[in-house]
Amino acid sequence: MQNFISEQNLNTLLDKLIAAGKRVVAPRLTAGTVLYEPLQKAEQMVHDELPRRSAKETFFPVCEDIMSYEKEGQQVRLTDIDPNSFPETILVGVRPCDAAAVPVLDAVFSWDYRDEFFLKRRDKTTIIGLACTTADDACFCTALGLSPADPKGSDLFLTPVEGGGYTCETFTEKGEQFIASHGSFFSGQSDAKTLPLAQPQTDKFDLKKVKAWLDEHFEDPAWDSIATRCVGCGACAFVCPACHCFDIVDEGTEKKGKRRKSWDACGFWKFTHHASGHNPRDQQPKRYRNRIMHKFKYYDDKFGQTLCTGCGRCIRICPVGIDIAAIVEEISKK
């Protein structure tokens, strides 16, 4: 049973993968901020900080081309993007809250329409999760039934042990294959104890109760008191591991340009702005309501899952201190 990898071996393995032309994505420091980004060297990986953005962009880029056009005389030439050209990727050091969001995204991108752009990237990516040893009072994965050691979404899951190195479990064929192809870096059972893991404080939410209240309270004065302060930026959606709305725009000139798909957010005024000028979500509380509804009701209605993994990013970065954990807790007590 190959279920241990030393820190040094992990680094050597990653460097080898990078040298072999694989894209290795992990938390690393970029211009002063920890983000999931491709590594040039394994040692760049940051182990002890939750990246500012989630890992979702590995499959769902911030912005990607989906087509380009060029006009010549009266002719228009279109060039499609070939999803087979997406690079093979090892996503490593993924936090449980980020990895747990991946199956949630899978559901929506393969539902009535199979989004090749997402699925092909997803298909070409191996996810290596990493248990958390620290948490702050914005973390609330435990409140949603996950945990700092939850392997949901990971092909392979690493847990740090005392004295260095990681125990390693596989959960998918992809994970098993990964160990099989790089067996020399893994060794048998070590008796080292796992490091004490993080313990987010929040009690488990009664999500059924939350959903039941949401089912009945599309219109409720509570929305005003929750979200009058919301200023309508998209920061919460953009740092969220599970939010997946996107916009498609054509950018370029009369002669040539590209069709691009990029992240969108329900907090934006423009999100539901009709061409007619009418906006059904004309006030910020209505937009924020959609965020909560989508996460704890609509997604559940459709896919039987919650569109939130408790990473706490939106709580930390919200410019006006909107605290989704506090809101859900409040709803659950109603």
Partner: protein, 173 residues
């Protein structure tokens, strides 16, 4: 004298790089000045493309940005001398706006040698030739303005594509 001779009887030289210069000018002074250079048959480099505005007051700084993004290697903004504005004070407002904007561009890292401002009156055909020639030659010596062009091709890592065919198609755009 010597200078004029250069303009009037420019020896045709082939250069490895011909910069793209975009000029934003007001219709009453500089456009007319450029017309005068034409009617006087003065000669100047063919690199400049002129966009006519009613007044320098109409020129939005975004246009300068847009010009660089569209591949301009140098940008010229030119209008009426102070006190000569056809619209009383448009050039005074423009003067402040561009004084601020050039400082911003400089801070972002745009080399201000690529951005020229001038007052050229309807009577100053010669000055138009001088300004355009100088800017063209300066920018030609500096080489292409690659910053914005490279930026236009740059992607967030997650949206980058590596296939050579696509890269080629991309570079063509």
């Amino acid at each position: 004298m010597a200078k004029e001779k250069v303009y009037m009887h420019a020896e045709k030289q082939k250069h490895s790089f011909e910069p793209k210069i975009i000029a934003f000018v007001c219709t009453w002074c500089t456009y007319a000045g450029a017309d005068l250079a034409g009617t006087s048959r003065m000669q100047y480099p063919a690199n400049v493309r002129v966009l006519k505005f009613p007044c320098t007051g109409r020129i939005d700084p975004v246009f300068i940005l847009k010009a660089f993004q569209q591949g301009a290697d140098g940008v010229l903004v030119s209008g009426c001398h102070p006190g000569d504005c056809h619209y009383i004070a448009g050039n005074y407002h423009a003067r402040r706006r561009f004084a601020a904007f050039r400082k911003l561009l400089e801070f972002i890292g745009v080399d201000l040698d690529r951005l020229q401002f001038s007052w050229v009156s309807a009577a100053e055909g010669g000055k138009w030739v001088e300004v355009v020639t100088e800017l063209t030659e300066r920018v030609r010596a500096m080489g292409p303005m690659n910053e914005f062009k490279e930026l236009a091709l740059d992607e967030q890592w997650s949206g980058k594509l590596d296939s050579p065919e696509l890269k080629e198609a991309y570079n063509a755009i």
